[in-house]
Amino acid sequence: MSIDIEAHLELFRDMTLIRTFELSLEREFKKGAVPGMLHIGVGQEATQAALAAHLKASDAFFPDHRCHGLNALAEEKHAGTGRRIMAELFGRATGVSSGKGGSLHSANPAVGNFGDNAIEGSYMVTVLGVALAWKMRGEKRVACCVIGDGTVGRGEFHESLNMAKIWQLPVLYACVNNGYAISTPVAASHASGDIVDLARGYGFPCVQVDGNDIETTYAAVQAAVDHIRAGNGPYFLEFKTWRWQGIFSGEFRPADEVRYWKEERDPLKLARQALVTRGVAAADLDAIDAEVKAEIEAWIQFSKDSPMPDPAKAVADVYVGWEVEPR
């Protein structure tokens, strides 16, 4: 099960973009240029790149709080550039949500991004509605929600999987099991550290995959999306992975665990090795890297150069058609 080399290179590039986006963002956050809270997706690039590769602009995905990378890729692929995701994080008028949403609420339905909901897991039931509408209208689209292992604690997990099954809805559950919810290990939170164990009872395909190997995640998402588009109902994917970010910025996990994941299971390093094995020159990969770095810096500059939102935005769009009094 080998992807063609073009696709493989593109996935490498996309993962590099996520890594660079997140690390540059974190740098700016630490400088105080990015307000609010920040959760970054470093270490989880292979799941996000695979999702971005298979979801179309006409599909829908509900990203979670670590999905800046997925969001940016969807923008790039379907709207030409990902810089409006960066600008959103800076709270600027040029952001996808005009700065009103930030990291936790950036959406752009034109590229399939239906927005995060910072009440973790609440969109597990929202996604059902999108999927139902499409099914009722006979549209062969996929509605995806990205959830963390911790998020699985919410009761909505049950309501969602159950109803997706009884109505055979085109829902893709992309569960990113990175082993922890903030500081809490998955096995301390859940009856099983393998989320598929909790999902399987609902009677639709539940597949656990290595979330750090891009070839595996790519193929797994492909299979899931094919199943759903063919009208076969929901599909649950659990990506076993690990996040480089600890508790916000502090590390709390055992040193050997950290070493293992960062050195032996780094999805970018693995992808690079695979490509080199396939005969790609290291210099070509370095060139991709450099190109992406320049691109991201340009996005940051664009964000910084962008104006703050128009004050009128503060009271705009509370109600459709009705005004709210400003101060």
């Binding site: 609420h105 909901n117 309501e159 109600y319 459709v320």
Partner: protein, 333 residues
Amino acid sequence: MTASATPRIRTYVQALNEALDLAMDRDPSVFLLGEDIGQMGGDFGVTRGLYNKFGAERVRDTPLSEAAIVGICVGSAMVGMRPVAEIMFADFLGECYDQIVNNAAKVHYMFDGQFKAPLVVRTAAGGGFGGGPHHSQSPEGWFLNVPGLVIVAPATPADAKGLLAASIENDNPVLFLEHKGLYRLKGDVPEGYYTTPLRQAAVRREGRDVTIVTAMKLVQDALAAADVLAQEGIEVEVVDLRTLRPYDAETVVESVRKTGRAVVATEAPKLGGLAAELSATIAEECFKELKAPVLRVAGLDTPIPFSLPLEKLILPGKDDIVAGIRHVLAARA
């Protein structure tokens, strides 16, 4: 709507049913979901017959998954549907509170207007029938401080139909409160499709001595109270709020500026509810004209007990309104 020559008498339930039926006829994006709303027609019969007419796709029975019911409303509304959910009893709104407050009410604003949430959550509110603490509450106070949400609460069969149709047409998320004590109320209901504007209170009865502002079942009690007092020559103006958020403060204020006295009445407790909002706004806006403090007639500050004589003590009714009006009239300017 204009009054027809021969009144067309329908119950509040029938009026709601007509609104759903006609809205579904007009607009294929309207669909219904909720517990036992299909073949059974809902716990109170509001959806009766619609399953047979529109089929299981558009009249969908759901599991007891209230969070999912509202989540499905939001998601489907985000992609152009117009879902109408039934939450069997308003007391169960606690289970989908997050979806209503943090999702439905915010999805338009927080994503910069890119999504709309034109959904209606219908639910049966109010007490008076021995339903006990979990089947009798008036929940408008739970949602009154939530920007982005619309709360609609009809008091008559004609309004039930027109306001429900308007709520379905409206592009905002609407919490639609149907008082169980009104379901069997009969009244003239115009034929065919019509909408009754949201955010417009109705002056149900004109009067120059005192204004009573209320909603839902208490509108009927207020009218009865006005009848009683009319026999003593007291003219009560009855304002039916109809939309509770955002509401028609102008009509309220205009009335009180005229009468100089006001009673506000809600079935829900006084502390922190709709009655407080109305009293505050009247006092702030009619400061010069008010001849007496606004009086809140409201439910006592307790859960709602099962036993009927206790429940009767808790919930306000016609007599409390009469007493409240007398009290406000007794106060010298």
